[in-house]
Symmetry: C2
Subunit: 330 residues, 2 copies
């Protein structure tokens, strides 16, 4: 947006721990700034130090309260902490809403904590593309731990948190029957289950349902298997948070021992590189012109909508045109 | 999977209204069968007849019950109805869970209703790629109305239902504060809000919250504006369902009058063609070999994870290699 951004200076300041520089860099990512290449190049050597914890769960289970409690506990342990709250794009609000951030106020003045909501402008691939880049900023800024909290519960959101070193899935009693939770597709990605609001009626039932669902889904696979523990918390009072941290540490040790940590970080890098490449290709598809220099995609889509062309043939035409003039258009 | 599938025969039978043929065709889509090109070509001439209604909302608001009640009402009006319940992929269950389908049992023996859960195998672009193709099957099978219900509430899910002719967003009283709902990014895509379970305490508060959030988000845009109505229902007793259908009809008329219907169907076709093209390109990226004939992406990602390469440069290498040998690999 602002061409005079001094990327090298911003990165140096972020590495020096200046929150405004961290915020500016993440804004460049949100805005899909053309300067991102420079940012990525400057950050690359400092990647891969932070421990990345993913946190997801249905609305109302207390994700933000839990994140805040985890931040407090990690701070007591002397860790520098980054929080990345990934919100779906909102054309209305321009992104993040205020509600959650209020709950995080207690950490607002702590220089050892970066808290950042990130909107992703709603284009497909948005979360997959932007989250790892924002992680890299917090990583380079010296965070020992980065918590990635997703606000929605959908395919993209689950995929994003599942790329963390350790993924926490939060549930709460009385959230409707177990099927509702299982449907969200989040059971499979959990390294640790957290049943929050565990002072409420129905906690034991939720734990039982969860154990049953886990048992249903368990498959025999070769090699060592991590069995996701179930931890009960009352995040609003900080209860059980140390147990969550202990479970995270145990999972981290397990992964290190079994080579899984390296594999996950490899997968995360693959997802990041692929997402950037796919976005580049998607942009090029949108840039393709037909012989009359009109935009090709809408014209092809019009014929598809009218039943005159099938969508595969239309896609073939686009992909072939990309091969022909993909390098001319850029 | 089964190379001996006779696609032309299946499509003819689906058009003839045979439910097993419809189910087989949708399974081919779920499985990303290589025969899909033939399916798409055979279905293309019969596209664009069905009215497509999207339905989303947080877990526990009664989406399945509402869908079932809408199906019953549409059947009474003599319509043939398709239901597509889009579930995130579940490596555990192999896709759809049983819970919802039980609620749909009452329609199981009705030959005028097709009900289909669809899993999308969790690859990025899964929903965007598979949903329009499955819609096309139900469309060609003679459904007057297709209801697309998404189970998750995330970026991809919201994008998928927002491509419908009319998008219903379901809420319920006591689902937590309004912010929880707004965060899911679903307010913006609603053509009609449905407050279900409207016999419960807190209904009027939910309606007020909703009106307030809508007023916050309203922007002055040029041209005619559709103001999303709020309809109260008790879907389990069928109450208010006729009001929902009336609101859908009103929205449909409004869109037809203002050229919006054609625009939405054009956008849906664009999204479909783009998703197919992007998936093709993504597959080709995965097929790229380096000079030692190793898979290029994992090797590049390894260097990115180690901080030796930045992800943009890695992506550039992939995209350049695609331009070089993209046409050789296929």
């Amino acid at each position: 947006m602002t061409p005079r951004v001094d990327v090298a200076d911003l990165v140096a300041k972020a590495r020096d721990g200046q929150p405004r520089a961290v915020a500016r860099l993440i804004s460049l990512i949100e805005d899909a700034s053309p300067r991102l290449r420079e940012v990525a190049a400057a950050l690359a050597p400092f990647a891969g130090r932070a421990q990345v914890i993913g946190l997801t769960g249905p609305p109302g289970v207390g994700k933000s309260t839990s994140t805040s409690a985890l931040v407090a506990a990690l701070r007591r342990a002397g860790k520098r902490v980054g929080v990345l709250a990934v919100d779906p794009s909102s054309p209305f609000s321009g992104g993040a809403l205020l509600g959650d951030r209020i709950r995080m106020q207690e950490h607002a003045l702590d220089p050892g904590v970066y808290i950042r909501s990130m909107a992703t402008r709603g284009h497909l691939g948005g979360l997959a593309w932007a989250t790892p880049q924002a992680l890299r900023v917090l990583d380079a800024a010296g965070c020992d731990v980065v918590l990635v909290e997703t606000v929605g519960v959908g395919q993209s959101e689950v995929e994003v948190v599942s790329l963390a070193d350790t993924t926490l899935v939060l549930l709460a009693p009385g959230m409707g029957d177990g099927v509702q939770v299982a449907k969200a597709g989040i059971l499979e990605v959990a390294d640790i289950f957290v049943v929050n609001k565990a002072d409420r009626d129905g906690t034991e039932q939720t734990v039982r349902d969860l154990k049953y669902m886990i048992s249903l889904g368990r498959r025999e696979v070769p090699g060592p298997i991590w069995r996701p523990p179930i931890v009960k918390t009352v995040a609003s009072r900080g209860e059980g948070i140390d147990d969550v941290l202990a479970a995270i540490a145990e999972h981290h040790d397990w992964m290190s021992t079994h080579g899984e940590l390296e594999q996950r970080r490899q997968r995360r890098a693959e997802a990041e590189v692929e997402a950037i490449a796919v976005e580049q290709l998607r942009e090029r598809l949108g840039d393709i012109r037909d012989q009359h220099r009109g935009s090709a995609l809408p014209l092809l889509a019009k014929r598809v909508a009218a039943g005159k062309l099938d969508p595969y043939v239309a896609a073939d035409e686009l992909v072939t045109a990309l091969g022909r003039n993909g390098h001319e258009t850029h």
